[in-house]
C-alpha cells in the first residue's frame, strides 16, 4: 500500500503530460477519422478524459484537492453532455435513418 501511495514521487510529471497529450491527439484524430456520429461522441469522451487525467495529475503533484473537485465537475458536465448527445443521435436516426454525419451538412449554412 505504501508503495502505491508514494509511486507518484517516482514518476515525473512530464510523463503524465505526454500521456494526456497522446490521448487528446488520438481523440482528435478519431473525430476527424470517423463518420459515425456515435464513434465521434466516444472520441470526445476520450478527449474529456485526457484533460481529466492531467488535472488530477497536477492536483496530486501540488497536493491540492481543488483540482480533483474540478475533475468531478467535468464528470458532471460530461454526463449531461452524453445524455443530450445520445438523445440527439436517437432523434437523428429516427428522422434520417442513418448515423452518418455527412447527412447533417445542411447545418453548415
Amino acid at each position: 500500500m505504501n508503495e502505491i501511495t508514494s509511486a507518484i514521487q517516482l514518476i515525473p510529471l512530464q510523463h503524465y503530460i505526454i500521456l494526456s497529450v497522446t490521448l487528446f491527439s488520438i481523440g482528435m484524430m478519431g473525430v476527424l477519422f470517423r463518420r459515425n456520429i456515435i464513434a465521434i461522441l466516444m472520441c470526445l469522451e476520450l478527449m474529456f478524459n485526457s484533460a481529466n487525467l492531467l488535472l488530477a495529475a497536477f492536483s496530486a503533484y501540488h497536493s491540492d484537492p481543488s483540482g480533483q473537485v474540478f475533475v468531478f465537475f467535468i464528470m458532471i458536465v460530461a454526463a449531461a453532455e452524453v445524455a443530450v448527445g445520445l438523445s440527439i443521435v436517437v432523434m437523428m436516426k429516427r428522422n434520417v435513418e442513418s448515423v452518418d454525419i455527412n447527412l447533417l451538412n445542411r447545418l453548415k449554412w
Binding site: H15, I26, L32, N36, C43, N52, V90, V99
Partner: protein, 168 residues
C-alpha cells in the same frame, strides 16, 4: 510501481487507438471501457481514490452502458457504418500526428513545480475532497443540479416522438 504506470499507459494508448480504428461500434465501446478502467488505475496511482471510484461508477457504469444501449437500440451493424474516403482518413491521421507533435513541442519545456503544500498521499480521500467540495465549491455544486435538470428536460424533449411532424 513505476512499471505499473507504463503498463497502464500502454493499455490506454493501445485501446484508444483501437477505439478509433476498429469498425464495429460494439468493439469501439468495449475498447473505450478498457481504456477507462486503465484510467481508473491511473487515478489510484495518483492517490485520487475518490476520483477512481467515481470514474468507474459514472463512466464505465453509466455513460458507457448508455452508449452500449444506444448502439443496440439503433441496431447498427457493419453494413451501414459509413466510412470516410481513404484520402480523408490519411489526412485525419496526418493531422492528428502533427497536432500531437505541436502539443508535445509546446509542453516539452520542463517547468519546476513548487507545491504550496507538503506532499501528502491523502488529498484524494473522500474526506478531503468532500471538505473542499462543500466549503469552497458549494455554490457550483448546487448549480450543477440545475444543469442536470436542464439536460434531463432536453433529453426527454429530444427523445419524444414528434407527432405533428411524423404524420407524413
Amino acid at each position: 510501481m513505476v512499471f505499473l504506470f507504463y503498463f497502464l499507459s500502454a493499455i490506454m494508448v493501445i485501446s484508444a487507438l483501437l477505439v478509433v480504428f476498429s469498425k464495429s461500434p460494439i468493439n469501439n465501446v468495449i475498447y473505450l471501457i478498457i481504456c477507462f478502467i486503465a484510467m481508473a488505475g491511473h487515478y489510484i496511482l495518483l492517490n485520487a481514490q475518490f476520483l477512481a471510484v467515481v470514474h468507474i461508477i459514472v463512466y464505465t457504469g453509466a455513460i458507457m452502458v448508455l452508449f452500449l444501449f444506444v448502439v443496440m437500440l439503433l441496431n447498427l451493424n457493419k453494413a451501414i457504418i459509413p466510412q470516410k474516403s481513404a484520402a480523408a482518413r490519411v489526412l485525419a491521421v496526418v493531422t492528428g500526428g502533427i497536432f500531437f507533435l505541436v502539443l508535445l513541442a509546446a509542453t516539452r519545456q520542463t517547468f519546476v513545480i513548487n507545491p504550496r503544500y507538503a506532499f501528502t498521499s491523502e488529498i484524494g480521500l473522500v474526506a478531503n475532497v468532500g471538505k473542499t467540495l462543500f466549503h469552497e465549491f458549494l455554490l457550483p455544486f448546487e448549480i450543477s443540479s440545475v444543469l442536470f435538470i436542464s439536460a434531463m428536460v432536453g433529453a426527454v424533449m429530444f427523445g419524444k416522438r414528434d407527432h405533428a411532424a411524423g404524420e407524413d
